[in-house]
Subunit: 449 residues, 2 copies
């Protein structure tokens, strides 16, 4: 797709602009808005749910369906609480917190440099009368069954990968897989973030797409590199410019004690470089721990060498909400047009754009033939129809929604059987025969894949 | 697709057989199996997740994408707790429970006819020393933020529809919709069932696909009938036989106080007729309550008549897990073949079948050309490759997985450029040119749609 840019184009500088666009156009808005919202929870509206579903489908297609060495899974959000003891979350998944003895507020011990919200001046929290730091577990808890005792305690999963480990043996045997192979799933996870922030970037309920790839220890490095390259190719395929994407290897003091290496894939958000995906060598930590806690041997036997061993795990973990946010931030432009007009446009990659094409009759009198075109196109992709307002305003609405193509049916169309196809980014217009319209759009939509 | 049945065919009589098949083949199995499971929670394995995703995609396509009067939504599982006060769940969504003063166990007050699990004989619970019934709320609770006070209480949603009501105004305005129109979403919901049972039929974590359709009071009946017919057509389109599907209108004493009418769509499970979907006329109850609790007017104005009113709501609510279970129960057959052999087969509708076709080289020597066919077919549908074991055993494995077509590449294929296509239900075989294979399969896969 052409990326010719109008002369003056401004990228997103402040999140406020995007947050406002997202709410106004129905991409993403605060959960329970009419009750004043709820901190750290977001809803995806009509455009947002299509964007998110497109991203998830692409991931599933690439990571699961196109490969024979990866199996899919969809596990429950609540699992046996021993899962989270074995994983180390019950003991270690916590932030150190301090309480203010005066106002009774609680703060993250590593964020006491911020201004105290209770103080009239800009006094920092660190000057308050604070308790010693105590650990605060970030898992959300609930209770199951009718009794109120400790036996009924359960956790909402803090990451989607742990059920992959507990289901490892069942999936391997039922799918008749041999090492090396992976198990992947997409789903919700929950963390009781003390300070949700940066729109959907750090929220309390979020969606992950995780792959755990199981291999022999001699192949750790090879598979780590393989998956790092695969995942970078995926992100590049979403259209991110090279100067907005980077990898950051973890320093040795950042690594979990069981991890040999880890690389973050970072995106340049308006609020700085931040992780959207992590590729981790988790070693045999998870399977060994679950073997121990469940009293079940999760090791495998190499049929040729007869060696018995616990597989090593290479993990790729991408935040679906974070990647959606990166896509939106990256796509956002305010452009000054030749006529001095301004337009806001989301230059979303066609593969993730919620609507692929909009059909616009120049006049309501042309609704019938335009509707016929829409019906035909809708067999192939998600197509929108709009006959309200002048054509310029309708183009602007589609620009804001990130729709790659507008198809205009005018009075000449009745004569020559052609329509005008306008491309979102270049605003270039093509005259295309209705007969070949679906093929024309399909070809241009797929050109960047 | 032909439905010729071998002479002796036995439908599923006992759930045990299906539960066993589902675990063995990786459709569905207990969550946290290695920890002994967790009551009321299930995981979908490699075949199950494809089955479920296919069903969800079909619903989304039919209810959202093919219609201009329905918008999609994906709201958070946790929302502002006032949501559940307004909906009436905090006050009324409960089962009456009794405690045994001797053993301290708790039972549903309407299930005291069952045998007491603590008594050595088969003494019924009702003969125990029981307290008076008390209401036990079925919503799962959690706490958010760092403080432990009541302000942090939150609920996991007990149904996906309530966020649709709280987001009604935002979605309507951002999507520029006018009545009549609907909002639909698919997602997880949670209920603290005291007695989860019948495999995935009554579980504590489950997935719903719900549509709330908003209309003027004068059109309630029309839209109720429209959606009832739409949803019945959907279920019939999944291949359910007429004698396994029925509608059951609620008696007036079953209706919620705000509901004018309700019809259940029921499926004949091995454990009897049970609801898989409900179509409900909810009136203006939900929007009125949220207007009141949020202090926000959720009414609309008819632009022609200037009438201001709170929309009436027609709801369709289908259980995704229940429908998957119905599909599996309905598809299950044990058949006696001509040679006296037995086969287990899942006669799943091709649209929901996890794998659409399996490519099987007759010999491992033919792997390369068979792989080439698989690569080509995989561009169109989910295709599996299997070269292990004799061809009869490989057919049986695909029968059990519900795969509609097996494509066998044999030594003749090298000469004549043709493969053998075997249809799952009739086991009839066709010789098909490799060139036209994708088109041939596509046509036969879509024939029943």
């Amino acid at each position: 797709m052409t990326r010719d840019m109008p002369d003056a184009s401004r990228r997103l500088e402040h999140m406020d602009e995007l947050v406002s666009l997202c709410a106004r156009r129905g991409f993403i808005f605060a959960s329970s808005e009419i009750y004043g919202g709820i901190n750290g929870f977001w809803d995806y509206g009509p455009l947002g749910v299509e964007l998110k579903n497109n991203l998830k489908s692409l991931w599933w297609q690439r990571v699961v369906r196109e490969r024979e060495d990866v199996e899919g899974l969809d596990s429950s959000i609540i699992s046996h609480p021993r899962t989270w003891e074995a994983s180390g979350h019950v003991e270690h998944f916590s932030d150190p917190m301090v309480d203010c003895r005066t106002c009774k507020r609680r703060f993250r011990a590593d964020q006491t440099d911020e201004a105290c919200p209770e103080a009239p001046s800009q006094r920092r929290v660190s000057e308050c009368d604070l308790t010693e730091p105590r650990n605060f577990n970030l898992m959300l808890q609930t209770r199951l069954g009718a009794s109120e005792d400790a036996a009924s305690l359960a956790y909402l999963r803090a990451e989607t990968c742990q059920p992959i480990f507990t289901d490892f043996k069942r999936v391997r045997e039922s799918a008749r897989q041999k090492l090396p192979f992976g198990i992947a799933q997409i789903g919700k996870a929950f963390r009781n973030e003390i300070n949700p922030r940066n729109f959907t970037f750090r929220s309390r309920e979020f969606e992950q797409a995780e792959l755990e790839f199981f291999c022999h220890g001699s192949e750790r490095e090879k598979w780590f590199q393989h998956w790092l390259e695969e995942r970078l190719a995926f992100h590049r395929g979403l259209g991110f410019d090279a100067d907005h994407l980077r990898t950051r290897p973890h320093d040795s003091d950042e690594l979990a004690h069981y991890a040999r290496q880890a690389v973050d894939v970072e995106f340049l958000f308006p609020f700085g470089w931040q992780e959207i995906e992590g590729i981790h060598d988790r070693g045999d930590w998870d399977l060994s721990r679950h073997s121990e806690y469940a009293g079940k041997d999760l090791g495998v036997t190499d049929l040729e060498t007869k060696e018995r061993f616990v597989p090593m795990v290479i993990e790729t973990s991408v935040g679906i909400d974070r990647t959606c946010l990166a896509l939106l931030c990256h796509a956002y432009r305010v452009e000054t047009l030749a006529e001095g007009d301004e337009r806001t446009v989301l230059r979303l990659h066609p593969a993730v754009a919620p609507i692929k094409a909009a059909v616009l009759p120049l006049s309501k009198k042309l609704a019938d033939p335009a509707r016929a075109i829409q019906s035909e196109l809708r067999r192939h992709f998600n197509v929108f129809y709009d006959e309200a307002g002048n054509i310029g305003r309708r183009y602007r609405r589609q620009d804001e929604a990130g729709t790659p193509f507008c198809v205009t049916y005018d009075f000449d169309s009745q004569e020559d059987g052609k329509v005008t196809v306008r491309e979102r980014d270049s605003m270039a217009q093509d005259r295309v025969a209705v007969d070949g319209l679906a093929a024309y759009l399909r070809e241009r939509l797929e050109r960047t894949d």
